[in-house]
Amino acid sequence: MSTPFYVSPQQAMADRAEYARKGIARGRSLVVLQFTDGIVFVGENPSRALHKFSEIYDRIAFAAAGKYNEYENLRIGGVRYADLRGYTYDREDVTARGLANVYAQTLGTIFSSAGEKPYEVELVVAEVGEAPDGDQIYRLPHDGSIVDEHGSVAVGGNAEQISSFLEQRHRDGMTLAEALKLAVQALSRDSNGGERQLTADQLEVAVLDRTRPQKRKFKRVVGRQLARLLEPGSPSGAEEGDSDTEPDE
């Protein structure tokens, strides 16, 4: 019988972290920003059907970078968790904090169990409050830690650069159009400092809008509404209403 090579625990964990980080870095980055009426999710995604952002519950949404099958699995797990919890207790008792905790436990257990390969995903769980100071954004890296974020957060390939870019420019009380433009600006910078042009049909955009009358606050921003928000001189504020009811949509 051959003796296995000794690998120190530190080295083993470092290798697993490296593996997960590389997987995540292969994917496109996405950003989540607070604006005055809620939280906006912006990412580069040419697909109309395979989403990076989804609704989890009334006020809670999910964003993920990394390997599709793994985050899709976690997303469905989250929807089941939230629906079951809301059914057993009450709709108000489903919170982003609870969900983030469950995700952290799940990712952490998978990360440190030798029998499983670490998940190559980084998640964001966000909940929109009644007022901006009630908004919650949690970032969940691959290893099971939780970071409570404020204002703006980026995950995925080029996350560090994008986050620092956003941190310098993001401020409280931005309108949706302003926040969206800032997000696109941040995403179009590549790692060498160059700029690419991102158009509306390359973007996936969704919002958690606290002003929505329905109890489910999640809404995808698509088509003409998105194009209008991205126009250079677009008026700020007026177009943030529910586009479904606008006659010109």
């Binding site: 059907a49 989890i56 469950v102």
Partner: protein
């Protein structure tokens, strides 16, 4: 591995199993005790006394469908509740009204709403109206054991069919049998009288507000002849729950709107207690 998943607080395996978009399927795998049909019933003699909801009526009109219900729940000859609500939105384009054992019915509606919402979130698209109607059928069927012990739930399902662009009504029996109704339908103890009323007053070309009047007339007639159906209660300001579903989605009439319809009918009935008369030939 199994022990591991139990103690760490991570999502149990059932949560991460891919495949099903149904919340009911997930529940029956993960916590079957939460499903009404999966709970064992002790043997009982005779029917169980529990509040029963009564009359639900629905009618289509060219732009959509209206669904309304009275507000009374009875337990034997006692009025158990005067202001119970028995018509609920199922999702944005459909609604469900329930007659039968109130407690079970409300639970079933809650599960049904969740089933539709869950599918929508997981799949990113909504079920077809037929698909929704079939899901409800399955849920009623799973309640058959309790129905045989006197705890039946018989709903009426109405919705706007986005693909066919028309309002549709589905009625059910206790075994889960489903049938699409043309024009109008009623369920519950007062349904016999309500259906008679609907039959005489319904026309294919009703406007939305006429359709609203029609269903409230039918409820008035049901309350007139069935003691378990409650008429509009002017003194306590309790009016029927009236909902309308069009291509703009589900809308419930506000209390003011519902009272306006109910009061108008009531005023006319003070002069003609039997309501409007249909032509003899």
């Amino acid at each position: 591995m199994e022990a591991n998943t139990r103690n760490t607080g991570r999502l149990p395996a059932a949560f991460l199993t891919p495949g099903s978009s149904s919340f009911l399927d997930f529940l029956s795998e993960h916590s079957p005790e939460l499903l009404p049909g999966k709970r064992p019933l002790p043997p009982v003699q005779g029917a169980i006394e529990a509040p029963h909801g009564t009359t639900i009526v629905a009618a289509t009109f060219p732009g959509g469908v209206v669904l309304a219900g009275d507000r009374r729940a009875t337990m034997g000859n006692v009025i158990a509740q005067r202001d119970i609500e028995k018509v609920f939105p199922a999702d944005e384009y459909s609604a469900v009204g329930i007659a039968g054992t109130a407690g079970l019915a409300v639970e079933m509606v809650k599960l049904f709403q969740l089933e539709l919402e869950h599918f929508e979130k997981v799949e990113g698209t909504t079920l077809s109206l037929e698909g929704k109607a079939n899901r409800l059928s399955t849920m009623i069927r799973s309640n058959l054991g309790m129905a045989l012990q006197g705890l039946a739930v018989v709903p009426l399902f109405a919705g706007w069919d986005v693909d066919r662009e028309k309002g549709r009504i589905f009625s059910y029996d206790v075994t889960g049998g489903r049938s699409e109704e043309r024009g109008f339908a009623a369920t519950g103890s007062g349904s016999v009288f309500a259906r008679g009323s609907l039959k005489k007053l319904f026309r294919e070309d009703l406007t939305e507000s006429q359709a609203l009047t029609l269903v409230v007339q039918a409820l008035y007639d049901a309350a007139d002849d069935d003691s378990a159906t409650g008429g509009p209660d002017m003194a306590r300001r309790i009016y029927p729950v009236v909902t309308v579903i069009t291509d703009e989605g589900f809308r419930r009439l506000t209390e003011a709107e519902a009272s306006e319809v109910a009061r108008a009918i009531h005023e006319r009935r003070l002069e003609e207690p039997d309501g409007p008369r249909a032509a003899l030939l």
